[in-house]
């Protein structure tokens, strides 16, 4: 199971940048198609909000790949130190 968790981590690491690329590409194409303020605000909000989340997703994948989720903490001591 731990092996699967780590291998899946590679997928999560890659998925983050792919999602950002797809998001920016779609935003640019939608804004070009209809360059009004509403479209710009709407897609601008999506890009600004989802990029940090995608970065977080890549970090999550990195932790998975490094085996950080092989064992989950069972008490607060493990989380605080």
């Amino acid at each position: 199971m731990n092996q699967i968790k780590r291998i899946a981590g590679i997928l999560w690491v890659l998925l983050g940048p792919v999602a950002v690329y797809y998001l920016i590409q779609t935003a640019a194409s939608e804004i070009a198609k209809k360059p009004v303020l509403d479209t710009k605000i709407q897609w601008g909000v999506f890009v600004v909000v989802f990029i940090p989340i995608a970065i977080g997703f890549t970090i999550f994948g990195w932790y998975a790949l490094k085996g950080e989720y092989d064992h989950l903490p069972e008490n607060s001591e493990e989380l605080l130190h």
């Binding site: 509403d38 709407q42 909000v45 989802f50 977080g56 999550f60 130190h81």
Partner: protein, 544 residues
Amino acid sequence: MSREGRQRGDADFGEIKFTGAISSGKQTNKDQQMKETKGIWKVIGASSLGTLIEWYDFYIFGSLATVLASQFFPKTNPTAALLSTLATFAAGFIVRPFGALVFGRLGDMIGRKYTFLLTLVLMGGSTFAIGLIPGYDSIGFAAPVLVLLLRLIQGLALGGEYGGAATYVAEHSPAHRRGFFTSWIQTTATLGLFVSLGVILLTRHSLDADKAKSIAKFNDWGWRIPFLVSILLVVVSIYIRLKMKESPLFEKLKTSGTRSVNPLKESFGHKANLKMVLLALFGATMGQGVVWYTGQFYAQSFIENVCKVDFDQSRTILIWAILFATPFFVVFGSWSDKIGRKWIMLGGMLLAIVTYKPLFHKMLTAVDESGKLELVEKRSVDSSSLATTKYPADAIHTVTEKKYYADGSLLVTRHYAFDKALYGEKPDLPPVTATMRTLGGQDYWLFVGIVFVLILYVTMVYGPIAAFLVELFPTKIRYTSMSLPYHIGNGVFGGLTPFIATLLTTIYTADKLVGLMYPIIVGGLCLVIGVLYINNRIDSRIDD
């Protein structure tokens, strides 16, 4: 007394004494238990009422998006006005994670009680203020700016409320019933929506004996009532919350001097805790958020805008479904105390992503009139002119056609056309055809049943999640650590669901169900991560 008798007497005495001791012990335990049970229900009642009011405040804005658009945003372009309101709505969701950080930090530093009291004041005050703002016609651009500002405050306050309420209840609950007790907090979001829909419908129909006049009055000024009544509810809730005591676990931290001095750094700056925050987000709340908002909000939008079911019916369908489904929050919360949180939440996600398409497709086919028997003799066609403030009474012609069907449904098609011969070409007023349906009894209850199933999935993913999140993090940084993944999952992934799903239908116009791809993909990803990485262990100790 013989030795035997003495022995017997001693024995009797001893037994009586012993039994007496058990009896008094039992009585003390029972009293203690009753006191504790009464105490926890007070905690749940006080926390839930405030949280319910906050959800009510938050939802009335979204439910009245169209009316608010006409009041606060330039009327020259209604679509732009609606989009602006929706953007404001989205802004309300997007600032929620920031509220989670601001108030989460406060809650871990000064305590749960005063923090969620503060969020309640902010939420109630901003809701009341929205009800007082003059329209765009009176104060111009200041109106939408003020509304946006107050909406942002609402979002911030909501971001701080939930984590505090869930933490507060969980920290009062016995370990073996944590899922059950926290599930009452979980019902508040749905009940807040229920109350908001009820108040709006009631107000909309009670302003005049004539229905059309009542709706017109509601759109003109009556929409302010649901915002203004909020202040009464908030005052009551503040009074109740002021009487509550601080969480015992937080008090313990305070007394021992072990409170966190920098909850943000400890929550997100330490890898050991950050990895759990990320797991909570990507393995639980992200999928839970999209399931929640698809079941309760996108479903309503789909029924009204895609199925073209009329305003009142689309809302009463949701009201019935909520009424029947809400007890299941407690059922699944309680069940999670026995079998663990993980598989109930992930089971709900799996059912949702597998059945969304068939369920929504069923609604589409149910409103398709092609297979229905029309009562041709009842068909009617009326022509009239539409009076507007911008154009003369005879400038816009309307033709209204009503078709009645044997199953009790009614299809109303209205064509609007501008009189070019009299007033020339108006490019901003193209001919428009609007459709509206009233469902027959059988279809109506079919819709209630489908929405009930959608909300049942919500109860599965949402019922146990407070207990799940509380158990992941230590007391000293719990408020901060659980609030952020909750509000990114629900505020961003979930809150944007109706918006993104509707946007997808405008990009890929051929497929009316394409909007569902967003919750299906996000929910599917979360399901895989949850299955792989989350464990099903119930943490019996959250006081460390």
